[in-house]
Structures are given as structure tokens and as C-alpha cells.
Amino acid sequence: MVGTESATVDEQLHEHFTRTIERDQRVEPRDWMPSGYRRTLVRQIAQHAHSEIIGMQPEGNWITRAPSLRRKAILLAKVQDEAGHGLYLYSAAETLGVDRAELTDKLLTQKQKYSSIFNYPTLTFADIGVIGWLVDGAAIVNQVPLCRCSYGPYGRAMVRICKEESFHQRQGYELLMTMMNGTRRQREMVQDATDRWWWPSLMMFGPPDGDSPNTRQSMEWGIKRHTNDELRQKFVDMTVPQAEALGVRLPDSGLVYNPERGHYDFSEPDWDEFRRVLEGNGPCNAQRIERRREAHRDGAWVREAAAAHAAKQQRRGRAAV
């Protein structure tokens, strides 16, 4: 008897959850949710947060070498934003009942992944412009639909993030325009950086739809709103005219407008390379993780000192009462 009773309660909860999703309402932290929904969200939000945190490195690498005070101030602000994005997302993940230290630990011990894009090196200052233009550009295409994610805290974090991303993309594009109006050598640097970042940027949308088994479930749950290939197409369509305005060539001979589809056709990215980088064998994987561990270790004394100070203040406060 007890068994059937609890089964109906379970069914009711499940039905309420499904109705919330169907009506395009938001699921909030204290609501009942299927364990698969919670697991998927924790994995996705954590992976997203880790990407923002690791994503500071390729650009942070150029802060001390920025060619002017103006560019340095901009780059500092941008990298600081990325740290903020990571923290918004960790905060959203914590509403699902996971612990911040546990997530940090999973990044440092490589039990959770981050976006493959940040495992490529930034070789020249033109890379800073191209990252803003292409990498933040692709992030925007990925993130705008996530603002309507069925899980409230994730959607709200994405709204904050998207507001800031537009600055990221525009400063990058402006940097590239400046270089394209410079010397022949500078224009070559922009072209070279574009050649190197184009394919990894396309890979940011994840594997092709046929190879993305979780997409359907995520779409049913309202976590995802578009498939990987749809978003990739959208990014290509948006970027081609921007490349033309800039005067750079996108490195794909198969890139051509298809009037029947009303979209640009483009070649298949090298998915073997994508898998290699995801599995840890990209050009900078080891360096990125090692740098992150080092920073975490170097900051340990600050965290401990602050906690000790807070404890002391509290004891004093209590003594005063």
C-alpha cells in the first residue's frame, strides 16, 4: 500500500514538472525535478563555469604585453568579466545542491571538462582581436538561447553574461579593424590568427547532431533550444559578412552561399582533432590545467588567512556582547 502511494506522489511530482516545462515556465531550485535533469544541468553548468575560468588564460597571457594603455585596460576588463561569468555560473550550479569546492576540485583533477577552444595558444596580439570576434561571437550564439533555459538560475546567469559579451565581441572586432588599417604585416597577422581560430571556433558548438546523443533529451527538457548544427549554421551566416567588412578570408574553400537553402554551405570541421583536444591532447591542455592548479595553490594562504581573520573577528564580537 505504502509503495503504491509513494508511486502516485512520484507521478504527481513528475507531472507537475512536465507541465512546468510544457508551459515554458521556469523550474526553480526548490522544485522537485527528475534526477537526470539535475545531473545534466550540474554537468553542463559546471563545464560552462570551468570554461569561463580557464578561458581567462589565453587572453590573460597578453595583458602585460598589450601595445597601449587603452588596450591593456580593455583586456583587463574583459578578462575580469570572464572570471565574473565563471562565478555567476558556479553560483547557479550551487542552487542544484553541489558544493563549490567540489566543482573546483573536479576541474583541477580533470573529472569535469571545459570547452576545447581554450586549449589553443595565443601566438600574437591579433589573436586577442580574433578571440573577441570569433570565440566570444560563437559564445554569444550559444548563450543567447540559454537565457530561456528551463532552469531559472541558469537562465538568469546567462542574461547577465550575454549583456557583457557584446562588449567582448565589439572590442575584438574594433582591434582587428585597427590592425587591418595598419601595415601589411599587421594585416597578415590578422589573417593568420583568423586561419588558426576559425575551425576551433566552429567546434565550439559541439559534435554534429548525429553524434550528439544527449541533444534530444536536453531539448525536451528545455535546457537546449537549438541543435549544435543549427547554432553552427547561424554563426557561419552571421560571420561571413563580418569577415568581408573586415577584409579577411575565412579559410574554407567550401564556404559559399546556397540560395536554395538561404544559408552558407561550409566544410566539415576536423572532428578527429576535436576529439583529440577534448581527450586532453590539444596544444595547451596540460599547460592550462597546470596553471590553474598553480593559481589555486598560490591563493591558498589568502583563503586561509581570510577565514582565520573572520573567525577571530567573530570571537571578539561575541566577547564584546
Binding site: 522544485d31 569546492a101 573546483t104 576540485d105 538568469r156 589555486h296 581570510a306
Partner: protein, 110 residues
Amino acid sequence: MTDSTDRNPEPGQVRTPDTAWPLFEVFVRGKRGLNHVHVGSLHAPDERMALHNARNLYTRRNEGVSIWVVRAEHITASSPDEKDPFFAPSGDKVYRHPTFYELPDDVPHI
């Protein structure tokens, strides 16, 4: 720091007592005349640092004129679920809403 084993600690060795920093919920007043609104959370060792961190994290672009931080453990919440009977008393009182009252279209300013 040349010892490579020191630079690559095993899982578990990397852990530091972050958990000792409590969780704070952050509320921001966007501008004068508006209520404080919940914007997210953060970890900090104490209230003062929580305010500092909240300023750096949630108001980098003048998003606020005032910030409240409160330890998450000090918040008492209504119920696990919004459909809960806790909100039922207001659910069936439609007469509390202006749209409940039908008035002729030609009455101005009401």
C-alpha cells in the same frame, strides 16, 4: 619549486578549506526608487568581504546603488514548491485584482 611532484598534487591535496567560507545571497538596488532584487550568491569569509566581492562581481557596470548581503543559512523560505498551499490564500481572491471589476469603457482615468 623545482620538485615536479610538488607541482602536480594528487586529487585531494589540491583541496583547501574553501568550504569554510560561507555562502551569501546578494541583493542589489538597481537605482533609487526600486527595491533590492536578488541577483545571485557568492562565498566570502565574512560580511565585509562579502560586500566587497558583491560589488566586484555584481556591479561592475553601475548596476546598483546599494547592496545587501545575507548569509544563505539565515534565509527562511516558504515552501519547496510554488504550487504549495502556502500561496493558496491569495490564489482564490480574484477580487484583489483591478481586472476583477467590470466598468464601462467610457469612464476616464480609472
